[in-house]
Amino acid sequence: MSARVLPFAVALAAMAMVPLFSTSPFYVNLTSQVAIAAIGALGLNVLVGHAGLNSLGFAVFPGLTAYLVAWLSTVGGIDPVAAALFALGGTMMVSALFALVALRTTGLGFVMITMALCQIVWGAAYRWTSVTGGDNGLSGVPRPGGAWLPLEKPEYFLWLCLIVLALALIQLGRFFDSPLGVALRGTRDQPRRMGAVGYDVWRIRFVAWMLAAAWGAAAGLLYAWYHQFVSPHMMAVTASAEVLLMVVAGGAGTLAGPLIGAALVVLLKNLASIWIDRWVMLLGFTFVVIVLLMPDGIVPGFSRLTAWLKRLRPTPAPKLVPRERADG
């Protein structure tokens, strides 16, 4: 167990120490962005990696929370912490309603419905100008804290993000090893058998959906506080696609994958914005390259390599069933 925890502890500690080595807030803020993205990617990984449900509308969860907390703490004039609680609760309620729609299908139907759901909410944020500020979004979102906890300082905010990320890693790490986590992967691989041995496949998928929504909401809350600004762009197709890229590039179904994927995508995006102005095209090319060259992602590729070095066994064991199924 401790051997599994160690790499994560080292990674988080290294991120927490960035403010000690860098005087410029740029790298501290960049680390915060990685942490926030990783929390979201961990949430999406529950659906993509463990439930086998490929969502293309994940940005709707962080988007809803960010908009709710922004509206409540600016227009609504509520204290930031109370606004955060209402925002998280509201997101979970809306997510439960969305689950009733999205979980009617699996496979490609699920892909299309999640994408449509996110686009509808994006459209509302974009068009319902009187409430959401339209394309201008809502700005001036206050961070919580005060003299005793100066969260307006980049290093304190980074530590808050890292605490949430640590909680996400612990909770999800335990969940994936638990009876329910194993059952969730069972519904991914053999939904029919799971029903036949007494599991309620729909309810297990619902739990996975709500878990993904919860961590997505946490990421959205930190996002709104980090930028102190929300706009419809955080729910655009590209936003959902970026989170999906983090999961797939890192390795869906692994715990470390979303973390590594988040770091890669955030760094790539920041570097790209310095040198070239074509992030969307770069994102597109990255998808194409990953799909054609590294379909399982970095972490499974790496562990396959180490396993090969250890055992010097040239061929991986044949899979009994293909990983993709059209059971929708």
């Binding site: 009876p179 329910l180 194993v182 691989d189 041995v197 007494g198 599991y199 064991a317």
Partner: protein, 247 residues
């Protein structure tokens, strides 16, 4: 006379107007070993899928020890004491044999909703799973992933998954399909050692095994029951010959 374990009455399933199962009525008594016989496309597997709830019938009723199953989802039928195996292996390839059986054992228990304690650390569950693997002679492979086992072992695991539910009525869909001669003997022994009170319905094309096992036989053709009776009745019935050899 005692209540039948499984009573099927006027069961019909149509696919786009074509009947796959047509007006099937059948009584199977507790503890009976019952064989479903018939050429490919006779509706045997469709009948299984109707009984366990993977398909919804167009009409008719299915009663398990008196309670109606039609309208219940598959998982609720399992709760009534029904279990089945699949003709096409339906296992969890990334998990070990032991964890496959543990997963099946958990299906009817509240523990399946636990989301914090590690699954593998449940010693009681593990020893139960090992006992079931022992019944199908797979205990020594317990910690090997399914993806690294031979086909014959997977066939027996398929049976173990159903036995884990401790069913009162067990539906076996071609448990011998694709097995070598030695493996057949092993599975045959396994079937012979099933608890006497367990009701077993079997689909099997290996006539020697099937006839040695079954007490009563139902002959299906084009989704209809041609005849039901004892081994001798069916063997003597001219319609058996007709179904298999004639038009």
């Amino acid at each position: 006379m005692a209540e039948p374990a499984l009573r099927i009455d006027g069961l019909t399933k149509q696919f786009g107007g074509l009947p796959a199962v047509a007006d099937v009525s059948l009584d199977i008594m507790p503890g009976e070993r019952h064989l479903l016989l018939g050429p490919n496309g006779a509706g045997k597997t469709t009948l299984f899928n109707l009984i366990c709830g993977d398909l919804t019938p167009t009409g008719g009723s299915i009663r398990l020890f008196g309670s109606e199953l039609v309208g219940l989802p598959p998982r609720k039928r399992t709760g009534h004491g029904l279990a089945r195996t699949y003709q096409i292996l339906t296992l969890f390839p990334h998990e070990t044999l032991c964890r496959n059986v543990m997963l099946a054992l958990n299906g009817l228990r509240r523990d399946k909703w636990r989301a914090w304690a590690p699954f593998g650390a449940d010693a009681a569950l593990r020893s139960e799973a090992l006992a079931i693997l022992d019944r199908v002679k797979l205990a020594d492979l317990a910690d090997r992933p399914v993806s690294q086992t031979a086909y014959g072992d997977r066939r027996r695991l398929e049976i173990a998954m159903a036995l884990a539910l401790d069913p009162r009525v067990l539906l076996l869909d071609e448990p011998l399909a694709g097995l070598s001669r030695d493996e057949r003997v092993m599975v045959q022994e396994l079937l012979a050692n099933l608890p006497e009170e367990m009701t077993v319905v079997l689909i099997e094309h290996d006539m020697d095994v099937a006839l040695a096992f079954a007490e009563r036989i139902t002959l299906l053709h084009h989704g209809r029951v041609v005849t039901t009776g004892s081994r001798a009745d069916i063997a003597a019935d001219p319609r058996t010959r007709e179904v298999y050899l004639g038009a």
